[in-house]
């Protein structure tokens, strides 16, 4: 699964740390998601989307391999 977290973060001028605090996870989790090393749970994906005020699918999209 691809995500646009890094891009959205830049648009909203948030650091990984700040986003982590907003969705109540560790910085490592945000970092791992951005590096495509971790696919978040549905709950976390929806929380991230809510911070950016977008639909989940505008931020997370499926890839060929999924």
């Amino acid at each position: 699964m691809k995500n646009r977290i890094k891009v959205e973060r830049a648009i909203h001028d948030l650091t990984q740390e700040e986003l982590a605090i907003k969705v109540k996870v560790s910085r490592q989790t945000i970092n791992a998601m951005e590096a495509n090393k971790y696919v978040p749970s549905t709950v976390l994906a929806m929380k991230v989307a809510r911070v950016f005020q977008k639909q989940v699918e505008e931020i997370f999209t499926l890839e060929e391999s999924d």
């Binding site: 990984q16 560790s26 490592q28």
Partner: protein, 157 residues
């Protein structure tokens, strides 16, 4: 993913037990487990030795240095490995479980090789180390990845 873990403060307590226990343990290995440092009376469910008979549920007098080092090490390692991180979340839970799986696989691969290639008294040493290696490998891998990730983060705005 909800895991049953110890409160975060156990992590610090764990390191305070684990570090001295490791130093003492290495010291014991260097000295070949020889010099008895502390002999006292203890309660034994089962006790036997090469010469004498087997005893059950008896108070015996014995050297407890290895006992103390082992107990401190295991408690310390359990606390460090299974206390919550400050910001425990789903990714850390997954990392914890995958590290545990990895540690069991690596540990038994090494043990398998030791079974095949190490014989005699040396294998006794393998058995001694093997009591602790699962926890050591688990803690090592879990913290390495957590820390490695951290480095990425600090570089980035």
């Amino acid at each position: 993913m909800k895991l049953h873990l110890l409160p975060t403060k156990f992590k610090k307590i764990g390191w305070c037990l684990l570090i001295p226990a490791t130093i003492l343990g290495v010291f014991r290995i260097i000295s070949d487990f020889d010099n008895d440092m502390l002999t006292m009376k203890v309660f034994a469910i089962l006790n036997d030795n090469f010469m004498g008979s087997t005893g059950y549920f008896k108070v015996i007098e014995t050297d407890v240095t290895n006992t103390i080092v082992g107990v401190l090490f295991i408690l310390g390692a359990l606390f460090v490995g299974f206390a919550k991180e400050k910001s425990e979340d789903e990714f850390i839970a997954k990392l914890r479980l995958s590290s545990l799986l990895w540690a069991v696989l690596v540990n038994y691969t090494l043990l398998l090789l030791a079974f095949i290639f190490i014989y005699g008294i040396a294998f006794l040493n393998v058995m001694i180390y093997n009591m602790f290696t699962v926890l050591i490998i688990f803690i090592g891998r879990f913290h390495y990845i957590l820390h490695f990730n951290n480095k990425f983060v600090s570089n980035e705005k």
